[in-house]
Structure formats: C-alpha cells, structure tokens
C-alpha cells in the first residue's frame, strides 16, 4: 500500500520534510501512518486530514490516499 504523507508547520520542521511516500504493509489507519513515519505515538492535539478532509486518527486509509498531519490551526 502506498500512502502520500504530508506535514505542515511545526510538524513539517520536526519531521524535516514536507512530503513522504510511505510504502508499507500492515497499515490500516491514519494512526498507523503516523507511527510508521515518526516512530512515535501521536500528540493529542495533532490534526489529521485524509485526502484534504479532516479525519480522526482511527479513520481507515486506502492505497493512494493523501494523509496530512499538522498542529492546531492559527489563521485569521
């Protein structure tokens, strides 16, 4: 399964890159994606979007999905 992973703002800086392509088996949810790319448990405040729509960490991901991780938003 191939997942296109994106990071924004402070998470982008922490991971050290803005995008990543994850090729892995055994990945079911956005939480699995985060663990695979960061080696950590997700921060409680971290936000997730799947295919540019907000999603929960336990939402299922599918082959080809774009999964984005970012901190609380601060626009306006």
């Amino acid at each position: 399964m191939t997942i296109n992973v994106r990071f924004f703002a402070s998470l982008r800086e922490r991971i050290g890159q803005a995008t990543m392509t994850l090729d892995a088996d055994g990945i079911t949810t956005a939480r699995d994606v985060w663990k695979a790319v960061s080696g950590e448990s997700p921060d409680e405040e971290m936000l997730v979007a799947i295919n540019k729509e907000y999603a929960g960490l336990d939402r299922a991901v599918a082959d080809g999905d774009e999964v984005a991780f970012f901190p609380p938003v601060t626009g306006g």
């Binding site: 994106r6 924004f8 703002a9 402070s10 979007a49 540019k52 729509e53 907000y54 984005a68 970012f70 901190p71 609380p72 938003v73 601060t74 626009g75 306006g76």
Partner: protein, 144 residues
C-alpha cells in the same frame, strides 16, 4: 471568487467595495457586516517583526468555501466573501477579510462573527513569528 487566498498584500476595503459593485444587485442587500484582521506588532508580550503564513493548498480553499457556503445557507445571506493572506506579512498588513451581505443586519452580523470563529478554529493556516530573538510558531489561536 467568493473565497480567495492571496499571496500579496491586498486592500480589504477596496476588495469589499469592488465586490459589492460587481457582484451584488444594488438595493437588495441592506446590511453588510465585515471583519478585517490585521497583523499586530506584538503578541504575548513580545514585539513581532514579521510573520509567515503557511496553508494547505487545496484543503484550505475547500474548507473556506464550505464555511462560506454554510454561512450563506444558514443565514439566508445574499452573498459572502472570504479572503486570506499567505506568505510573509508585516505589522499593519491585512491578513483576513470576512464579509456577509444580507437584507437584515442580524443575519449579516451573526454570519460574519460565525465565519470568523469557524475560520479561526478549522481553516488550515499556521503562523510563524519572527521576533528579535528568533522565530517561533504560534501554538494556538486565542479563543476569541
């Protein structure tokens, strides 16, 4: 056209004025409620010299569009407009414009306020401030 991300400085007042002239039927919307957010030169007690506004191309526009469409529908607005800056901004630069046009003032004022709250809590934008001592990410929006 009702939702725009701008990469360069814009004049929110001229934007509203032109939008009304070009897109609204004169004599229909008696009430215009507008909020403009402008970069301040201080935050949490520190002087801020500049700020970079990051967004999520594609998702941010869609979030703003959904927010605008829901406000129009919920409050039976004639129209609504949302403009947001991205990129590097300086103190005094306008960052956000939210405008609601309605036949009735309560609908316009309610919709304007609600759009700002929804934008602040859900639209994917992030601010990084440049201070005298270096840079820092703004960690969360003030509740109001």
């Amino acid at each position: 056209m009702t939702v725009e991300i701008r990469e360069h400085p814009f004049d929110p007042w001229q934007t509203v004025s032109e939008y009304r002239s070009n897109h609204l039927v004169a004599g229909k919307s008696g009430a215009s409620a507008v909020f403009v957010g402008t970069m301040r030169d201080f935050n949490e007690g520190d002087e801020v010299q500049a700020m970079v506004l990051e967004h999520y191309p594609g998702m941010t526009e869609q979030q703003l569009k959904d927010m605008r469409d829901q406000a129009v529908s919920k409050h039976d607005l004639e129209d609504a407009l949302v403009v947001h800056r991205v990129g590097t901004v300086h103190p005094g630069d306008d960052i956000v414009l939210v405008a609601a046009f309605s036949a009735h003032r309560k609908a316009a004022l309610d919709a304007c306020r609600e759009m700002m709250e929804v934008l602040k809590s859900t639209a994917p934008f992030w601010k990084k401030e440049t201070l005298a001592q270096g840079e820092r990410w703004v960690e969360r929006n003030t509740p109001r």
